[in-house]
Amino acid sequence: MIDFDTLEKGQQIGSTTVYVNRADLVRYAGASGDFNPIHFNERFATEVGLPGVIAHGMFTMGAAVQLVSDWVGDPSAVIDYQTRFTKPVPVDDPAGSNPSETPGTAIEITGAIGALDAEARTARVDLSVLVAGTKVLVKAQAVVQL
């Protein structure tokens, strides 16, 4: 367990990379009940003006917080978690690939302590979530009860 008194603002909590392919999007659609076809149908996604199939924002948000759960050791310590979805995460379908086996799009996640509340004994972890060098989540912040 993390010792609150040892934490400092700005401290890095770690980094990880999550990969997402088309099969992951189908799995997330089924698990979450979000069957918006922009997340699994190329034709439909293109017709509504997107570059192609994109990941559910909630997939990215849900996957990114894993870094915080791992760091704190208890996912239920995440008492508040928010983000803005600013850029779509395109998930390609490379010719000749098996959609379940192709690595897919790399989502790079790093976290740092953004704020500490000594009275409440909470730490705010600010997540940086990038795809191909571009921020896809903005103001991604998880508050952890320690």
């Binding site: 992951d24 799995r27 698990a31 849900g62 759960s69 791992d70 208890d74 996912p75 995440v78 979805f85």
Partner: protein, 149 residues
């Protein structure tokens, strides 16, 4: 069809309870690539003080989006789901969600802001147990793109 500006302030009451299942927690955790054992293994959940499998931090989206669907599918709202983009999301947990919970959500339409021919709509789902214990508050904004956007 344009967004009904009178939506703000509307409240959609709780529907049938959502019963949180162990397999759903495992399925959702797998889908978001969450690997903590407390989502999969009863002993691991118990060692953190939970009586059953622990749901991942964004699990409440299932309940929240079911509540949002009441608004999106309301013929009176003027919302075309195919033009909806998720703009932001927040979860505030009053206590952890675990398997066996029976949850109900009351949906509040907090703000409706015209954006060209579309609109930004912010909703809040107050999620509680059927016994009335507050479990989570989720706040979400959706951008409904206008015909020319």
């Amino acid at each position: 069809m344009s967004i009904n500006p009178e939506l703000a302030g509307r409240v959609y009451p709780a529907q049938e309870p959502y019963v949180v299942g162990r397999e759903k927690i495992r399925e959702f955790a797998t889908a978001v690539k969450a690997t903590h054992r407390a989502h999969f293994d009863l002993d691991a959940a118990a060692s953190l003080g939970h009586d059953d499998l622990l749901a991942p931090p964004t699990f409440a989206i299932i309940v929240a989006q079911r509540a949002d669907a009441l608004l999106v599918n309301d013929p009176d709202s003027g919302i075309d789901f195919s033009r909806v983009v998720h703009a932001d999301q927040r979860f505030t947990h009053h206590r952890p969600i675990i398997a066996g919970d029976e949850l109900v959500a009351t949906l509040h339409v907090d703000t409706v802001r015209a954006m060209g021919s579309g609109a930004m709509i912010s909703t809040r789902a107050e999620i509680a147990t059927v016994a009335g214990e507050p479990v989570a508050t989720t706040v979400s904004s959706i951008l409904v793109r206008g015909e020319d956007q």
